[in-house]
Symmetry: C3
Subunit: 499 residues, 3 copies
C-alpha cells in the first residue's frame, strides 16, 4: 500500500508485518545507529503538516526521521492554522508536493483529510508521495495503533490470548476504535470495557469480538493490560453530559493494588486526572515506554512509506451503470394507452419523465440536476407532488421537457428514489428504464454531501463525497452507507435529508 | 548588487541574468543533485525572518536552501509577531546578524523593511550579509517577479513579443506591479488589463508600455498568458467598495474555453475563488508549475546573495549643499537701509532671520529646528505670520535671536520654503544666502516623516526617512518625491502637511 | 555538576572555569570551525523547550548547537503554550526524554521549573540528560550571567578591581540578581546601584559587597562598566507604581558624554527606551558584542552539559529525624498524676496527644494529617483551642484517639509547632517525645505549599515543595526558609499561613 490512511485499509497480515517491522527498529533506536535500509543516495523529504496541535506525535515522527538521517520540514501549530485561513486544503497539499515532499504526514481536525490528500495528489499528477495519517479528528490514527500493538507485543510477548481492559471515553477515542478494530475473534482476546452510558463503545466496533461491558472498574481485576483514555471534552456538545462523565474513572494506587499483580497500564496521552499522580512512576504504568515505542514504529512507517511511495493507486472509476429497459414503445401509442394520467400534467413528446419518486424526492432530484447544470434557460420543469400511487401511497413525478439526463447521474437518482422509472421520450419513441442502485454513490458537484460536518468534503471546494453502500435494504431494512473520507456510517435518510 | 530589495534596483540585463541563472538550477532540482556552486567549505547560514505569515514563499526558500545543502534558521508566524512586540525591528535585525545570519530573507507587513534592514546592518558594522526581500507589505516582492519571468520563459520560450493579460486587483497587487515594471517598451508586449474601476493599475506603472484596459474579460481572448490575482481584501478600507469588487472576475471552464487554445493561466496564489475548482487540474492552468519555478529561482538567488554578500554598499552621503551668498553687508548699514520692516519685529544683531517663507511654513520650520534641539533655553524666537509679500502674497518670517542653523538642515528648510532667504547676522555682518533644494531630502530626528503609515520609518525609532525628488517644479507644477523605503510617491504638500 | 540550573549551585572556581571555557570557544565562532571536543560519534540531541517566548536566547543556543554540528529540536512560542494546555509540565519533560533529548534547555514563566525537570527525570529513570535553565520567571538565568562575565573579561581584561554600575529595575531583574550574586567581596568590585525606591535591589543580594546606592545617575560617572536594565512592566501589579518608575532613567548622548571616557554600556536586551536611539551605534555601547558572547558561552555550556550528563545526582533523602524521648510511664500512673487537665478533654488510652501547639496550629496540623490520609473513618479527633499555657500564653491540644502519626511527618509537625510534645499512648504506656526541627522541610501531598504563586510546585500535580531552613530562630528571631525550586525566601509565618 502506498499510503497509511486508515487501519481499515490493512489486512491482518499487513498489520502484523508493520508491527514486526517496528520491532526490528528497536535496536537501532537503542544504539542510535542507522538502519541499513535508511542509507539511501536520495533521502526522502519528510514533511509534517500538523493542522491540529500535537507535540507528542509530531516529536515522535521528527525523532524517527532524525534517527533515519532524513530531512524534515515542519509546519505546525498556529502557523499551520493561519495557513489554512488563506489556502484551501487541496492547495496546501499541492504546495507541499511542489516544494519537494516525498513522505507527507498529516494531522487535522477535519475527518478524511489524509484520504482526500491522497486523491488530490493523484488528480494533480504527483505520483511519488506517500501520505501518512497522524490523526484526522475522531476518525483514524493508524500509527498509534501500530505502536500500541508493538507495546503489547514487547511487553506480553504476544498479541493473542489475553485479557484486555479499556476504560474511559470509549465512544470518542479514535485510538480505542482503531486498536480494537485491529483485533479479530481469532486472536482470542477477552475484552473488558468500562465506561458510563454516555461514553460507550459504538456497536460497530464490537462485531464478533468477545466483549464484557460494565460501568464498574471491578471487572478489570484480572486484566493483563488495561488501556485508559481521557474524556475527550472537546467532543461533548452538552455540558451537563460532560459534567456527569468527567472524573468518573480514576486509576489510583488503591485501585491498581486491587488488580492482577503484573497488570500493565497503557494510555495514549495526554491524560487529565484519570492516571493519579501517585502511580505515575509505578512500574505497572508503562505509558512512557508505550510512547517510546512510537519512535521505532514510526521509523518503520517512514521506511515503509519510502519503499511504497512510487506505487500506483488509481482512484477507482465509478462502477458502470446497470440498467434495464423495461418497456419501449411509440409515443402516440403510449399516450393513447395512458389517457388517465393526463390530468396531472400535460404530456410531453421530447424529454424525460421521472416516475415513482417517493413523496419529497422530486425536489431533491431537481436540485441535483440544477447543481449539475443540466437545465437550459428555456427548459420547462414540472414537479407534481402527492400523486396517489399503488406502490408508494403518494408519489412525485418530475417532468423535464426537452431535458435528457446524462447516464452518470442515473445511479445517484436511483439511490434517492430507489423505485424510480426513467421515461425517456425522443424521436417519437418512449423508453422506460430501471437503473440498479450501484455499490458506490458519488457526490457530483457537492451533492449529496456528507452529513458529518467535520468531514473534509464539507470544507474543501474540491471535495467530492463518495459513499460505499455497506448494506442494501432487504425486507423493510434501509440502506447503510459509509463515507469514503471520514469513514462514518449513515442511513439513506440521513444523506437524502440534507440534499 | 549585494541585496535583493526591489526590482527597481535592477537593470534590465541584471534581471535577465538572474532569470537565466534560475533556469540553470532546474536540472539540479529535478535530479536532486548539488549545483557545483553550492559546494562550499563555509556554507552560509540562511535566516528566514517572516514577520507576516507566508508558508508558500517560506517553504520555497527553505527547499531551495535544502537543495543547496545550506543551513537555515526560521523565525516565522506568531513567534515572529511576539518577537516584534518586544524588540524594535532594527534590534531584531542586529540580533540575527549577531547570531550568524549570512543571507537574511525578510517578509513584513511594513513597507521598506528590507531596505531599512540593509541600512541598519551597514550602520552597525555587519558587512557580510545579503538581505533578500520576500515581500514588504504592498511594496515589493522581487523573487516572485523572477520566478514569474522564469515561468514565462520556460513556457513560451521567450520573454518578448507576446500578448499578456492581467485580471483582478491590479491596484494593490505588488506582484503585478513588480512584474509589469520588469518589462520595457522594447519587449514589445501587448498588455491587456482587466479590472473594475476600484482596482485599476496606477498610471505610474504604465509609462511607455503598450496597454489596453477594459472592465470586460472579453479582451483577454487572444492572450498567450493571463495572470490572475486575488482581491486583496485586507487593503480595502471601505467595506462597500470591497463588496462591489469581490467575486467580480472568475475564471471558469466556460470563460477559459472561449480563450486562445494554448493560453496559460498564471496566479501567484493563494487564490480565493477567482480560479474555479473545475479548472484547477486543467493543463492550461500552470499555477503549480509556476510555484515550482520558485525553487530554482530562489536557489539561484541564494547563490547570488552568497556571492555578492561581501560587496560594499556605502550608504550614500547626503548631497553637498549648494548655496549662494546673494548679499553681504555691515549690519548697521543694512539696518539703516531696511527701516520699513522694523514694524514687524525688533531687529536683531546676532542670529538668523528666515525670510520669504510661504504662509504656514514658519511653524513647520520651527518644529524641525526644535526636534533637532537647535534652540537653547534662552533663545528668543519670533514667528511673524501673514506679512504682505510681493512674491508670495503673504509670508512668514522666522527670527531666531542668537541661533545659527547647522548647514545640514539648509536643504530640508529650503524644501519646506523653496523661496527662502537665510539672513545670518554675526560679527556685525549680515549675509543673505539662498540654498538650492537638493535632489534628496532626508528626515532628521524623524521629521519630515513618510506620509505612508505602513512605511517602516514610521515604526522604528531608528528609522530615518529619505525622499528622492523625482521631479522639480516647473511652471506651476509641484515637487514629486519618492520615499526611499516604501517606494511610494508623494507631493511636497503631502509631506509638509504632516510635519 | 550535571545540570545548569542556578548560579547559586556553582562554586566561584566553577563559574570561572565555565567563563574561561566560553573564552576558548571564541576562535571557533570566529573561524566557523568545529571545536575538537564537539566532534563525537554520538552527537547529543539538543532540545530547546521555550514555554515563554525568547528569540534571543533561543537563537543563541540554536546557533551554538549549529556551530558544534549537533542536532536540535525546538518547541517554542504559541506551540509550546498550546502544549502546556494539554500536558502537565512533568509529562512534557518525560515526553522530551522519551523522544531522545540529551541536553534539554528550558525557559518558562513558572519559577523553579528547571530544577523540577531535573527531579522528574531522575524519578522517572532518565539518567543521561543535562537540564539547562534558559530563564525561569524572575528566578534564574545562569547562561546570561556566564555571558555577561565573559563580556567583561574580554572587554576589561579582568573580573576584579573595577567600578560596576547598575541602573534600572534592580528589584525584578533576574539578570542583575544572578550577575551580582556571582561576585564576592574578594573581587574588590565597587558596585554603584541607581534605581528609584520601587525598584531597589533586595538586601539578600548585597551581603558583604561594597555597594553605593543612589537615585541619581550622577554616581555612575566613574564606572568602568554600566549595566542597564529595562523596567519589567509585567512584574508590576500596581499601575500607579509602574507609572512612577517608567522612563525614569534614560541613557542619552548627553548622559553618556558626562561619564568616564572609556565606559562600557551593557544591557541584557530587549530594551524599551532606556538606551536612546542616538547612542545605539556608539562604540561605548557594547550590547551587540555582549549578545554575541552568548554564542561561545552557550557552545561551552552545551559541551559541558554533554560531558557531565551521565553523572549521578541522587535526589537527597530527607534528613533523618532527630528525636528525644523525654518521659516514659505507665498510662494509669500518668493519668493519676495529671488529673488537672482532664477538664479539657476525656483522657484517651490509645493514640496520640499533641501538646504545646501555638494557638491556631492545631487545625493546620490536623489538615496536614488529613491530606496524608492518616485518619480512618472511626477515629475521634479533638482539637482543643485556647488552653491557658505557661510557655505559650494560650495553646492548642490535638487529641487523636487510636491514631499514630508516621515518623516522617514529625519534622513537618515540629516546624509548624516548634515546642510540641508528642504524647504516644499505647500498650498501657505513655511516651513523651520531642522532635528537633530538621534542616529541610518537605511538602508531603502538597502541604505546606510554596507561598510564591509562580513557583512550579504550585502548578504541577507532581510538584513536591522542599524548604531549606537558612536560619533557625535565636532569641525572638524567626525561621528563614528558602524554597528549593523558586529560590525565594520566606518566614515560617508566611509558610504556615497558607496551610
Amino acid at each position: 500500500m502506498k499510503h497509511i490512511i486508515s487501519i481499515n485499509d490493512f489486512k491482518k497480515e499487513e498489520i502484523d508485518e508493520i508491527v514486526n517491522g517496528g520491532a526490528e527498529m528497536i535496536p537501532y533506536v537503542n544504539k542510535k545507529t542507522l538502519p541499513p535500509a535508511a542509507v539511501l543516495k536520495d533521502k526522502p523529504k519528510v514533511c509534517l503538516l500538523f493542522l491540529e496541535p500535537s507535540t507528542r506525535t509530531l516529536g515522535s515522527y521528527e525523532e524517527a526521521a532524525r534517527l533515519l538521517g532524513w530531512p524534515t520540514r515542519i509546519v505546525s501549530g498556529p502557523e499551520a492554522t493561519s495557513l489554512m485561513k488563506k489556502e484551501s486544503f487541496a492547495n496546501t497539499i499541492r504546495m507541499f508536493a511542489t516544494q519537494g515532499a516525498e513522505i507527507l504526514i498529516i494531522r487535522s481536525k477535519e475527518e478524511g483529510t489524509a484520504r482526500f490528500a491522497a486523491e488530490i495528489l493523484e488528480k494533480s499528477g504527483f505520483n511519488n508521495i506517500s501520505i501518512q495519517n497522524a490523526g484526522d479528528g475522531a476518525n483514524q490514527h493508524p500509527s498509534q495503533t501500530f505502536l500500541d500493538r508493538l507495546t503489547i507485543l514487547q511487553t506480553l510477548g504476544r498479541l493473542k490470548n489475553f485479557t484486555f481492559g479499556f476504560v474511559g471515553d470509549l465512544k470518542h477515542s479514535r485510538t480505542v476504535h482503531s486498536l480494537i478494530s485491529s483485533f479479530t475473534p481469532e486472536d482470542k482476546i477477552q475484552f473488558k470495557l468500562v465506561s458510563c452510558q454516555e461514553t460507550r463503545l459504538s456497536p460497530r466496533y464490537k462485531r464478533g469480538l468477545n466483549i464484557l461491558e460494565s460501568e464498574s472498574l471491578n471487572i478489570l481485576r484480572d486484566c493483563d493490560v488495561v488501556y485508559v483514555t481521557r474524556i475527550q471534552e472537546e467532543r461533548f456538545s452538552d455540558p451537563l453530559e460532560l459534567e456527569r462523565v468527567k472524573g468518573r474513572y480514576k486509576i489510583t494506587k488503591d485501585v491498581l493494588d486491587g488488580w492482577k499483580k503484573e497488570v500493565k497500564i497503557m494510555h495514549p496521552m495526554p491524560y487529565v486526572d484519570e492516571i493519579s499522580a501517585e502511580i505515575r512512576s509505578d512500574p505497572r504504568v508503562i505509558i512512557d515506554k508505550q510512547a517510546w515505542y512510537g519512535i521505532p514504529t514510526r521509523m518503520n512507517l517512514l521506511l515503509w512509506g519510502n519503499e511504497h511511495r512510487f506505487e500506483k493507486t488509481l482512484i477507482p472509476k465509478m462502477p458502470e451503470l446497470k440498467k434495464e429497459i423495461i418497456k419501449e414503445a411509440e409515443i402516440d401509442q403510449y399516450l393513447t394507452s395512458r389517457k388517465k394520467e393526463e390530468k396531472y400534467f400535460r404530456p410531453i413528446r421530447n424529454g424525460t419523465v421521472l416516475d415513482h419518486l417517493p413523496f419529497g424526492t422530486g425536489d431533491k432530484i431537481k436540485k441535483c440536476l440544477q447543481t449539475n447544470k443540466i437545465f437550459k434557460q428555456n427548459n420547462v420543469i414540472h414537479n407534481i407532488e402527492r400523486i396517489p400511487s399503488q406502490k408508494l401511497g403518494i408519489k412525485d413525478i418530475l417532468v423535464l421537457e426537452n431535458v435528457f439526463i446524462p447516464e452518470h447521474l442515473f445511479g445517484l437518482i436511483s439511490f434517492i428514489a430507489p423505485q424510480i422509472t426513467f421515461n425517456i421520450l425522443k424521436d417519437n419513441k418512449i423508453r422506460k428504464i430501471k437503473a440498479i442502485v450501484p455499490e458506490e454513490i458519488s457526490g457530483v458537484n457537492s451533492l449529496p454531501r456528507c452529513p458529518n460536518n467535520l468531514c473534509i468534503t464539507n470544507y474543501d471546494p474540491e471535495g467530492i463525497t463518495k459513499f460505499k453502500i455497506l448494506q442494501f435494504p432487504k425486507s423493510g431494512e434501509n440502506f447503510l452507507l459509509r463515507c469514503n473520507h471520514c469513514e462514518r456510517e449513515f442511513t439513506r435518510e440521513e444523506i437524502i435529508k440534507i440534499i
